[in-house]
Structure formats: C-alpha cells, structure tokens
Amino acid sequence: MPNTQLYSFVPTDLSLGEASFRPSLPLNLVHQQNSVTVSGLLDTGASVNVLPYLVGIELGYIWEQQTTSLNLTGNLAQYQARAVLIQAIVGEFKPVKLVFAWTQATHIPIILGQVNFFIEFDVCFYRSAFQLAHLILPHNAIKIFW
C-alpha cells in the first residue's frame, strides 16, 4: 500500500483559467450499502469537514435520525447541521473514518477540514509551482501536481 499519492489542482472554470484552480481531492464515501464518488475541497481554514445535504441523502442518511446537532460558523451558520460518521477511501489508501458536519445547505462543496481530515492526513500545497501535494501521514500520503 503506497504512503504517497499525487494529484493536480483542478480548474473549475476553464474560461477563468488559473483563477479557478481548486485543491480538490477525489474520494469515495461509503455508508452501509451506499457509496458515492465525490471531490472534497481541501480547506485548511475550516474547523470541520462539511457534507452537503444531498450527498448525505445519497449516502442513505436520514436527517431525523441524526441526533448530534452542530452549530457551524460563517456562511453555514444559517443552516442546521448534524454530525455523521462516514467511511472514506482516498486513492489506494486504507479506508479512514471521517466525521462530517452534515449541513442542510445544498449549494456548497464537500469541505475537508481540520476535524478530522487534517488529523488523519498531512497535506502539503505547492501552488506556486502549479503543484499541490497531499501528504497523508503516518500511513498515508498524497501529492497533487498540476
């Protein structure tokens, strides 16, 4: 099993070119029998991971059954949120358990934040060289290159 993986910055709007590059990480989220392939925004400024409402529904979560309420901040403060645990698979690495703030907001990216994505993974960014390196330690490492 590798301990390093490389990825590129992802342009989200070709007409905007470099201005639209995002540090997006492809990953699989698994809950019970449901699995979705998504892109998570690596957001070192985010205190927590955030799961958009519709992705949670796709994974089979039922809002009313999630009892741990969370208060988010910033633009997300206006939406209710619940804590959910999801099995995440990144590339060839072994699955990790990520805890997400499942928000009722729908028009947001999946956010990978300090709790607990960056607890599980060490990440380095090399944007100036058009490169993004995700270093996932101690047992995982990812690098992203443009």
């Binding site: 201005a19 985010a46 804590a83």
Partner: protein, 83 residues
Amino acid sequence: MVSAELLLTLKNLNRSDKFQIMQILISELAEQEINLIRSELAEQEINLIRSDQDYPIWSPYDAVEAADTMLKVLKTAKNQDHA
C-alpha cells in the same frame, strides 16, 4: 538613442558630477521599475479576481464547538469499534 554630443558632455564631466548623474539615473530607473511592477500586479489582480464574479466563502472558520462535538462523536465510535 544617445547622441554623440551628449556622451561627450557626460565624459567630460568631473568625477563628482558623474556620480551625481549616475545617482539621478539609478533613482529614475528604480522608480520606473516599481511602477512597472505595480502595473503588472494590478493586471494580475484583475485577471485573478474579477469584479463581476462571486467568491462565496463556505469555510466554517473557528467552529470550535462543532469541532469538539465531532471529535467526541469520533472517539465514541472508535471506542465502540474496539469494544
């Protein structure tokens, strides 16, 4: 194009005047360089950040209570896994 007459005039200056001319020219060049860099930076800013574009920030910055709650949920789940 520097004229031969100007070059001859400069060559005939004494040492002190030559230094003074040099300082004036270097100072002017530095100012031109700074203005050039400023205009290049301004152009880059215009290219990278557009006034007609929305840039929403969704980061739950400083959501420490939520983070604490989520860590407890995670810890409970891990304890159950090990039990």
